[in-house]
Amino acid sequence: MEGNILTLIYIIASVTFILGLKKLSNPAKARNGNLIAAAGMTLAILGTIFLYKDENGNTLHNYGWIFAGIIIGAIIGTLAANKVKMTAMPEMVSMFNGMGGACAALISIVEFNHLSETFTVPGWSEVPWNLTGGMIGHTLTIYAGCLIGTVSFAGSMIAWGKLNGKIKDFSFKGQHILNLVVLAAILVLIVYLLFDLNPANYKLFYLIPLLSIVYGVLFVFPIGGADMPVVISLLNSFTGVAAACGGFLYNNKVMLTGGILVGAAGTLLTILMCKAMNRSLKNVLIGNFGGSNATSSQSKTGGNYKEISVSDAAVAMAYARKVMIVPGYGLAVAQAQHACHELEKLLEEKGVEVKYAIHPVAGRMPGHMNVLLAEADVNYEKLLEMEQANDEFKTTDVVLILGANDVVNPAAKTDPSSPIYGMPILEVEEAKMVIVNKRSMKPGYAGIENQLFYQPKTSMLFGDAKNVLQQLISEVKNL
C-alpha cells in the first residue's frame, strides 16, 4: 500500500518537474513553475522518508540523521541563497550545482562500500564470485555516478572560484593532453574494474573519485571567465546525468526522470549558449579563448580615442530623440542597475525615448542583464533582444555603453583573424553617437582590443559605472 502511494507520489513529482521547466519558458508563469517543481520535490522527499521500502520490505531508519541533515542543509541553503547579491547569482548556481554533484558522488561511494563489504567478510573466497550482466550494470552506474558527480563537483567549485575572482586563469603547455591522459586513466580503470572486480583489487575504486577531482579541476581551470556560463551549464547537465545514475542504482524513476530531463535540457542549453557566441562547444572546452593566446589581433592596438566630459554626455543624451543603453558586466560589478533605471526615467521625462539593447551573452550568463535590470524595476518592454536592437540602432541618436566590450566589438564582423570573429554583436556603430563608459582602456574578458573605441563617433567616459551614472543623473537634472 505505502509502496503504491510512493509510486503515485513519484509520478506526480516527475510531472511537476516537467511542468516547472515548461513554465519557465514564459516570464509571467515562470515563478509558478518554480513553485510547482519545488512542491513536487518536497512531496517526493517526504514520501521517500516515510514510505520507502527496500526489496526486503524494510522501511528506512536513522530518521534523526536524515532530519538533522535536511535541516542543516535547508538552513544553510536558504541563508546563502537569500544573502547572495544579484550579481553573484551565477557563482551561487555553480556552487549549488557542485553540491548536487558531490551528493551523487557520495552516494556512489557509500553504495560501493556496501558492495565491497562482501569482500571483507571472512571466508569470502569460498563464495563463488562471478560478475553477471546485472552486476556489471549495477557497478557501472556506481562508477559512472562517481565519475560524473565528482567531476561536476570539482569543476563547479573551480567555476565558482573563478567567477568571484578568487581563482585566476591558469594554464600551462600540454594541459589539454594531461587532461585527456587523466580522463583516459579513469576510463581504463572503470573498464578494468567493471570486468575484473575482485577482492584483491576493489580498493582501486577509490582512485576514481580522486582522479575525477583532478580531472574536474584541470578541466575547468584553463577556461576563460567569459566562457564560464557555458561551463556551468555543461556541469549542470553532468549533475543531472549523475542523479540519473542514482536512479538506475535504486530503480528510482523520479530520480531518473529528473536527472535525465536536466541532463538533456542542460546539454541543449549549453549548445544554445555556444551558438549565441558563435563558437562550438569543442572550441570552448579546449580552445584558449580568454586565455593568453589571443595575441594575433592584440598587436594592432593604438590609434587615438577621445574622452567626453560628464556634462557633455548628459547634454548629448538629454537632447537626443532616442537613447539606447547597452549594459554589460561593468554595470553588474558596479551594482549600477538602479542608477541606470533612474537615468532612464529622467530622460523619459524629458521626452527622450530610452531602450536597452541586451546581448544574449552580456554579463556573465545569458539573461544576466535582464535579471539585473528587472531587479531595478526596468520595464520589460524596454529590453530589446539583439536582432530588434540592431534594427533600431540606425535610428538611434546616442548609444550609452555601460561596461560592455566584447559584445560591441566590430572585429567580430570585420576581422577574420580575431578570436571572436563571427560572434553576433550589437552593431552600435550604426548609431549617430556612441558613448562608452569603462573603467579604463583595458581590453574585455576576451582579452582583445576593441576598434570601436578609436572610431570618430565614439567618445570614452571613464569611471565606475555607478559613479558615472550618478553624475549623469545630477547633470541631467540641472539641465
Partner: protein, 104 residues
C-alpha cells in the same frame, strides 16, 4: 548485454523519452530566461537527495563510514534543492515586479 537491456527496458524507455522531452521543453525558452532556467534545472537535479535519503536510511547504525558519508550527502543534497529553488525564486520575483513598475 541483450539480457540487461530487456530487463531494464522500461528505464531505457524513460531515458530516451526524457532526452527528447528535455530538449523539446528547453527549445522554447527565450534567452532572457536562460539564467533562471539554468538555476531551475539545477534545483531539479537536486532530486539526487532521494538517493542520499535512501543511503542514509539503509545504513546500519554501527557502520559509521556509511553514516557519515550519507549524512554529508543529505546535507549537500538539501543545499542543492533548497538553495536552487530559493535562488530561482528570487530571480523570478524580479521578473514579476517589472510587469507593474509603479508598485515598488
Amino acid at each position: 548485454m541483450l539480457n540487461w537491456i530487456s530487463e531494464n527496458q522500461q528505464y531505457i524507455y524513460i531515458v530516451i523519452l526524457m532526452i527528447f522531452l528535455g530538449i523539446e521543453v528547453i527549445g522554447r525558452v527565450p534567452s532572457v530566461l536562460h539564467t533562471p532556467l539554468m538555476s531551475g534545472a539545477n534545483a531539479i537535479h537536486g532530486v539526487v537527495i532521494i538517493g542520499a535519503i535512501i543511503v542514509m536510511g539503509k545504513a546500519e547504525s554501527n557502520n559509521y563510514l556509511a553514516l557519515i558519508l550519507g549524512f554529508l550527502a543529505v546535507i549537500v543534497g538539501t543545499l542543492n534543492v533548497v538553495g536552487g529553488f530559493v535562488v530561482t525564486n528570487r530571480m523570478l520575483e524580479m521578473f514579476k515586479g517589472k510587469k507593474n513598475p509603479n508598485k515598488k
